[in-house]
């Protein structure tokens, strides 16, 4: 401390010191400003034969999706095992991409494809290079198209429905209202997502497609409804395993849940998976290809492996998530799972009015801020 005082009490050394700090600080700020770009567009790479590509794919994936059975055909064909990096959510992946993080393939929800495209980060697939593409659910592939180009190979999907303890609540209502009703007071669990506001909108009677692009008044109405009904919450879950645990223990009677919750709990406690009468919000995910990737053909081979029917059979049986391939052998899957999730007719199950698929939301910021205010009000 005394030495610092000695420096600053000497006018000459004080000037030198402050000048040095200022130069360092300004350099840092200027260096950061230089990266203030709207587009991380990579230069277009020429497409070469596959044996001339580097070959080591970098796949930015969800944790657990690096398991080899998801791309078995790719490995069986003799290609080098990809390098994986992991994302926690697509927002984080977008931020890293905007900051220059390089990958060949990533796995976003269909609602974020436009964000990647706005950054210039992705290029359309050549579906003729994907042998399994004709077998994929066309309803899902439409979600991956922008301006007629296939930017995402939609591969896995699921519902954002409700898992219900049928020994605690009557499943007859078949509605998102379970997430808000006073009947479940103290035993309701929401996921940490603005989709809760959309589900409130469905309960309040807003047209399902409109819930993706509500007016400011509608958004405010749904927000206030969530704030009012927040008193009925047990918690807002972040880790799905914790939610499963709470449902199993009876702390939670109704929870926002994906299909894997039903697969995990159905043999342990009396539960039902609700696909609400208002229409189920459903998410679709798939693979997108980096613009300018050096591994163009390897990327297509990887996507083709993911699209195989055998992958779908195991994906459904393991996690309860749907797979896009319509040739999946349903006889290998638990009939109960097939019936509950409508896998015997996935095109109809994923079409309106049964389901409303995720899409780009131009007002995502407004929804996020509304959701933040809901949480802050609890």
């Amino acid at each position: 401390m005394g030495q610092f005082d000695a420096v600053l009490s000497n006018a000459a050394s004080r000037r030198m010191f402050l000048k040095g700090v200022g130069v360092m600080g300004a350099s840092g700020v200027l260096a950061a400003c230089r990266k203030n770009v709207d587009s991380t567009a990579a230069p277009a790479a020429s497409i070469v034969p596959i044996d001339q590509e580097p070959g080591k794919l970098h796949v930015h994936e969800w944790a657990g999706y690096d398991t080899k059975w998801l791309f078995k055909d790719y490995l069986d064909a003799g290609y080098e095992e990809p390098k994986f990096s992991f994302l926690i959510n697509t927002e984080g992946a977008l931020a890293k991409t905007a900051a220059g993080f390089e990958w060949d393939i990533t796995h976003p929800e269909s609602g974020y494809i436009q964000d990647y495209l706005n950054m210039g980060a992705i290029q359309p697939w050549d579906t003729s290079l994907i042998s399994n593409f004709p077998a994929l659910n066309p309803v899902l592939q439409q979600t991956g198209q922008i301006d007629g180009k296939q930017y995402e190979i939609a591969l896995d999907w699921g519902y954002s429905g409700v898992i219900l303890r049928t020994d605690k609540l009557d499943p007859a209502a078949n509605s998102y209202s379970y997430l808000f009703d006073d009947a479940g007071a103290g035993h309701i669990s929401w996921f940490d997502t603005p989709w809760i506001i959309q589900q409130a909108g469905l309960v309040l009677g807003i047209e399902p497609n409109q819930t993706f692009d509500m007016t400011a008044d509608e958004l405010e109405q749904c927000k206030q409804y969530c704030i009012e009904k927040g008193k009925n919450l047990y918690n807002i879950w972040v880790n799905y395993a914790d939610m499963w645990d709470d449902v199993q223990k009876g702390n939670v009677w109704a929870a926002y849940a994906w299909p894997d919750a039903y697969v995990a709990l159905k043999d342990k406690v009396p539960v039902e998976y609700i696909r609400p009468k208002e229409g189920t919000l459903a998410w679709v995910e798939g693979l997108v290809l980096r613009a300018g990737t050096q591994n163009y053909r390897h990327g297509h081979a990887f996507a083709d492996a993911w699209a195989a029917a055998s992958v779908g059979e195991r994906l459904i049986g393991t996690w309860g998530y749907g797979h896009s391939n319509l040739d999946v052998d349903l006889s290998k899957i638990d009939p109960d799972v097939v019936a509950v999730f409508g896998l015997d007719d996935p095109e109809a199950s994923l079409s309106e009015p049964q389901s409303y698929l995720d899409r780009f939301q131009p007002q995502r910021n407004a929804y996020n801020r509304a959701w933040q205010e809901v949480k802050a009000s609890l």
């Binding site: 401390m1 030495q3 610092f4 000695a6 420096v7 000497n10 000459a12 050394s13 030198m16 010191f17 040095g20 700090v21 360092m24 600080g25 840092g28 700020v29 950061a32 400003c33 203030n36 709207d38 926690i88 959510n89 927002e91 984080g92 977008l94 931020a95 905007a98 900051a99 964000d115 706005n118 950054m119 103290g186 940490d192 603005p194 927040g230 919450l233 047990y234 918690n235 807002i236 972040v238 223990k249 702390n251 995502r364 910021n365 996020n368 801020r369 959701w371 933040q372 205010e373 949480k375 802050a376 009000s377 609890l378």
Partner: protein, 308 residues
């Protein structure tokens, strides 16, 4: 005369000696200062620039706009309407309560260590800081095992017949109480240290003199020990108050819906909502508040005395 001449010869040539020392001091200070600039000052400036749209990252960030600040400051939920009832004030009250609780719990421990324990004080001090050797996250998660409805505590009460099998104590977990309890538990050892240092540096002759002058032990504590240890107490209070204002890990793990704090909204803005501009505005607001508080506390805090 000879003495005066000797004094004149002995007097250091201050100007030349101080210039030499200043260069050495600058050299020694350069690494920590560089560290502060690179890992503190620049990031804070970047966050500030991001909050007003000078920097943008994604296509729907608003370039050169105060809208994120307007959205934050105008929200009745974060700062409250009327002022004082929003999430920020809830967090401030929580931090204040935790800090005061920690100081009250830690002071007797520090007093015992500094003035009573004698030769065993450093051994006992080591025992007190042993929890720091474990992961912060593990210590918080351990409280989940203790407090949750099927946890050690509530199952114990059921086993003892003090609760019905179907009964749960809802306020004990996923609640503001749980956040309060866990934060106090985590920070008490940390708070004890500066108070211990302050008490250990007391001039014990002052205590003897007080006793010799007829003061009781309570009077000696109240009028001599406590005032002289106050810099350490204030330092301890500040050391826990400032970081707990922005705390988000503990509320996320044990707080449930009711234990959400201001730090959680900032974390959520960056990590989940992808609303970096609002998160940046809230972060800068928190930094401004902390800076003001430090300036206020600094008037009462003799840092040099605590450091020495």
């Amino acid at each position: 005369m000879a003495i005066e001449a000797n004094v004149e010869r002995a007097a250091p040539r201050k100007g030349r000696l101080r210039r030499g020392n200043a260069k050495v001091n600058l050299g020694l200070l350069s690494v920590p200062v560089l560290w502060l600039v690179v890992f503190f000052l620049i990031p804070v400036v970047l966050v500030g620039l991001y909050s007003v749209g000078v920097l943008t990252l994604i296509s729907y960030d608003q370039y050169l706009s105060l809208q994120p600040w307007r959205d934050f400051l105008g929200s009745s939920i974060y700062l409250g309407s009327p002022l004082g009832r929003g999430l920020f004030w809830k967090s401030m009250k929580m931090s204040l309560g935790v800090s005061i609780t920690c100081v009250f719990l830690a002071y007797p421990v520090a007093y015992m260590l500094a003035l009573v324990a004698g030769r065993r004080k450093y051994t006992l001090l080591l025992i007190i800081i042993v929890p720091f050797l474990t992961s912060y996250l593990l210590r918080v998660l351990a409280w989940r095992v203790i407090l949750n409805p099927q946890g050690v505590l509530q199952e114990g009460l059921r086993s003892a017949g003090l609760m019905n099998p179907d009964q749960t104590i809802s306020w004990m977990y996923n609640s503001i109480f749980a956040v309060y309890l866990v934060l106090a538990y985590v920070w008490v050892p940390f708070v004890a240290l500066p108070i211990f240092v302050s008490l250990e540096s007391l001039d014990l002759h002052m205590l003897e003199a007080s006793s010799d002058l007829g003061a009781s032990r309570w009077t000696t504590f109240r009028r001599v020990t406590l005032p002289m240890s106050m810099p350490g107490v204030i330092a301890a209070f500040v050391f826990v108050f400032i970081p707990t204002i922005g705390e988000y890990v503990t509320p996320q793990i044990v707080g449930g819906k009711g234990g959400l704090m201001f730090g959680n909204v900032i974390q959520s803005s960056f990590a989940q909502s992808f609303d970096w501009q609002l998160g940046s505005a809230m972060s800068m607001f928190l930094i401004f508040v902390v800076a003001i508080l430090l300036a206020i506390f600094g008037r009462y805090l003799n840092v040099r005395a605590v450091a020495e």
